[in-house]
């Protein structure tokens, strides 16, 4: 029985003009383009300088800031209102204002003040760029100080060295973080939305009644709806692996079979969820919106964009109910850190739980009678 049902489902998918193309093209396009766009790196901050001092010291400071690599000097204004206008026009992100008595203060009073104004409409960027600027200033004063020490005393302070190291992604390339996450997104888009539209599509076309009058059990019916998406999930994942390797040279540190294993459970769980939605929805439009509502919530709670650990505690609790969270963590760990299934045991159990829960619900909520 199942065999014929599967044949029907596959035929329906393959005869559709859009679906097969989408299954192949969407992961391909998304994975080749998104990592270029999805970039949270803070770089190329535009700096506007108001130098009221024009002394050797202030010019040296400007030089140092420009050569740091973080900032791009976009304009030199003669006064603060002009500089502020360049921020209002989005031509500059940070203003550094050097007061008229800068050098005098620094040499005579041994203490000088400069003003930093940062555009913080984007809080992350504004905060980071102003703190970069502060740390360059600290470096600069240390430089000046050590010159002073050398010429004045033989004072040397014993010290320690702080060595920052970044494991798994030493260059801190944002795209390597995003690629596994985009793989998860593709899996959940395709293997979530398509099943959600499936049963309700049959409802709209009226063909579901034909299914209901057959002796097929609810369980078999749901299974026949699930398996095609399972297969599709593997195809999508394989395309993703290929693109990550071909375009970005990213190869998984851990074994691919681990990813397939987890993906098998994840797709099962998520397609099951799609079918639940499909069971309850009355029209394609409704199914679409319900799915959109949940997918958006799941994605944001998954830690795909920003780490779960930064969220408020109550939201972290909610994020445990997002199956996507476990899958993102699995993909990132396996891909970038080379984790094995035993280290990710908890995640596996959670995904299995989701799979049983959603598919059980899908079978129970399917009604043959109206």
């Amino acid at each position: 029985m199942l065999k014929y049902l599967l044949e029907k489902e596959f035929k329906q998918i393959l005869r559709n003009k859009f679906l097969p193309r989408m299954v192949f093209l969407m992961p391909f396009i998304a994975l080749s383009l998104f990592p270029l766009v999805a970039n949270f790196t803070i770089k190329n901050t535009n700096l506007s300088i108001v130098d009221n001092n024009h002394s050797p010291y202030s010019e040296r400071l400007v030089q140092k800031i420009c050569s740091s690599g973080y900032f791009r000097l976009t304009n030199v204004s003669s006064n603060y209102p002009d500089a502020l206008q360049s921020i209002e026009l989005d031509k500059a992100d940070v203003i550094l204002e050097i007061p008229p008595r800068f050098e005098e203060d620094l040499v005579k009073e041994r203490k000088a003040t400069v003003m930093i104004s940062a555009n913080t409409v984007n809080g992350m960027k504004g905060g980071l760029s102003s703190s970069y600027l502060v740390s360059i200033l600290t470096d600069f004063s240390a430089e000046v100080r050590s010159e002073w020490f050398q010429s004045n005393t033989r004072l040397s302070a014993p010290s320690m060295e702080i060595i920052p190291r970044y494991s798994f992604n030493p260059q801190l390339e944002y795209k390597f973080t995003m690629i596994p996450a985009i793989m998860m997104m593709m899996l959940s888009m395709i293997c979530g939305f398509l099943p959600a539209l499936n049963i309700v599509g049959e409802k709209e076309n009226g063909t579901i009644d034909q299914m209901n009058v057959t002796p097929v059990s609810k369980f078999t019916l749901i299974l026949s709806k699930l398996i095609p998406y399972w297969v599709i999930g593997f195809i999508v994942l394989t395309i993703c692996f290929f693109v990550a390797w071909a375009f970005y040279g990213l190869v998984s540190l851990g074994s691919y079979s681990t990813i397939y294993l987890f993906a098998a459970v994840f797709v099962l769980a998520y397609s099951g969820f799609g079918l639940v939605i499909s069971n309850y929805a009355k029209s394609i439009q409704q199914a679409m919106f319900m799915m959109f509502f949940f997918v958006i919530t799941f994605i944001f709670l998954s830690g795909l964009y920003t780490p779960v650990s930064s969220m408020p505690d109550w939201l972290q609790v909610f994020s445990r109910f997002s199956p996507l969270r476990y899958m993102v963590e699995v993909l990132r760990s396996v891909y970038l850190k080379g984790s094995n299934p035993i280290q990710l045991g908890g995640h596996f159990a959670a995904l299995c739980g989701f799979a049983i829960f959603f598919n059980g619900w899908a079978v129970l909520s399917y009604r043959k009678t109206q």
Partner: protein, 383 residues
């Protein structure tokens, strides 16, 4: 009254009444579909909560592990300092170097602090004391921030120990954070959410509802009615126009009272800008609906051609200046990009009307072109 005028009046009367009843019909379609209705009204609320609270890179209570072979005064003081800060909680002490890799692979630990041997002695005498801050680089931005915080704490300890109090040649920066002094993420995202929700309601919903009439075959019935086809289309757009105004209000009220994002500039300019953007979105929806014949295709097109670019390329999530030039160029033709810039100028920066003239002109031009094209494309006959 002349008969001709009577006829004209009669015609006008029909037009007005039928138009209103068409609009009423569309509203019924929406009201009767409770689920969609609820979701459409809740969606902005959900999006604001998610963007306001879930999208944050604030670092607090980061879990750190420590490998300390020295176990002396200095290392213990540093560990105490780290544990006392609000940014870190020490959850694990490692016993050997080999555990480092394993710990990261299991996940959950953001930073491992590794001291070298005889730390205190080396620090005091030879100056070769080393502390390594190993962060999990699979999440670049927080890795950088965490390492930054940890090195600051350790540097502070260093200063304390060496009693360098009166440091000469000090430059004190006075930092002023413009527009968003608390560095809230919401300031950046609220304009984006407005752009996205309005596009979703106006373009996606309008195109789907027209495609549905085509798919069901009821479009033909509408087209043979005495109404001009253009009014049929307008009556389709009307409820979504109203709905988008409701959503706009919800977003503004919530962002002011729940997220604490003020409307710094003129409210009127903000509404004018939003209305122009809503017209652009409606025109896009109408254009899509005149091309497609089925709901699924309408969905896919509005999803792929509208929603995805709005989310990815408009500057809603990812800063446009980080993108490759090609994408920056594409982003120019995305209406949401202009709208978001305009809303940021008025709502967050509090600039005047003159600051959005540019954006208004671009959006206005887009609206004119899109409405023109979709009127041209609109077919009265169904094949």
């Amino acid at each position: 009254m002349k008969p001709i005028l009577l006829i004209e009046n009669w015609k006008l009367g029909i037009k007005k009444n039928t138009f209103l009843s068409f609009v009423r019909k569309e509203f019924r379609h929406i009201f009767r579909d409770t689920w969609t209705m609820v979701i459409l009204l809740l969606l902005p609320v959900l999006m604001l909560i998610l963007f306001g609270y879930a999208i944050t890179t604030e670092v607090k209570n980061s879990k750190i592990a420590i490998f300390d072979p020295s176990k002396d005064v200095a290392t213990e003081a540093i560990i105490r300092k780290l544990a006392a800060s609000q940014y870190f909680s020490v959850v694990k002490m490692l016993n050997s170097q080999t555990e480092i890799d394993e710990t990261f692979k299991k996940g959950g630990i953001n930073l491992i602090v590794v001291f070298n041997e005889n730390f205190n002695e080396n620090m005091m005498h030879t100056g070769t004391a080393q502390v390594q801050l190993i962060a999990d680089g699979s999440d670049p931005n927080s890795a950088k921030t965490i390492v930054g915080y940890a090195s600051n704490i350790i540097a502070a300890y260093q200063q304390e120990i060496f009693k360098i109090n009166n440091i000469p040649y000090q430059i004190n920066p006075e930092v002023k954070l413009l527009y968003n002094p608390q560095l809230k993420g919401a300031y950046n995202f609220v304009p984006g959410v407005m752009g996205m929700i309005l596009m979703l309601i106006c373009a996606m919903m309008t195109s789907i509802s027209i495609a549905r009439e085509k798919e069901m075959g009821t479009m033909e019935i509408l087209l043979v009615s005495p109404m001009k086809p253009i009014y049929i289309i307008l009556s389709k757009a009307a409820p979504y126009f109203v709905l988008s105004l409701v959503n706009l209000t919800t977003i503004l009220v919530l962002s002011v009272f729940m997220l604490g994002v003020p409307i710094a500039g003129s409210f009127v300019s903000l509404i004018v800008l939003s209305l122009v953007y809503i017209f652009v979105s409606l025109a896009l929806g109408l254009l899509i609906s005149s091309i497609v014949n089925s709901q699924l295709v309408a969905l896919l097109i509005s999803g792929m051609v509208l929603m995805l670019p709005v989310i990815m390329l408009s500057g809603l999530m990812f800063p446009i200046e980080n993108m490759p030039v090609f994408f920056q160029w594409i982003s120019q033709i995305i209406p949401a990009k202009w709208y978001i810039i305009g809303v940021k100028n008025i709502m967050i920066k509090g600039l005047g009307f003159s600051s959005i003239i540019n954006e208004l002109l671009v959006l206005g031009a887009m609206a004119v072109v899109l409405i023109g094209v979709s009127l041209k494309k609109f077919k009265i006959r169904l094949e």
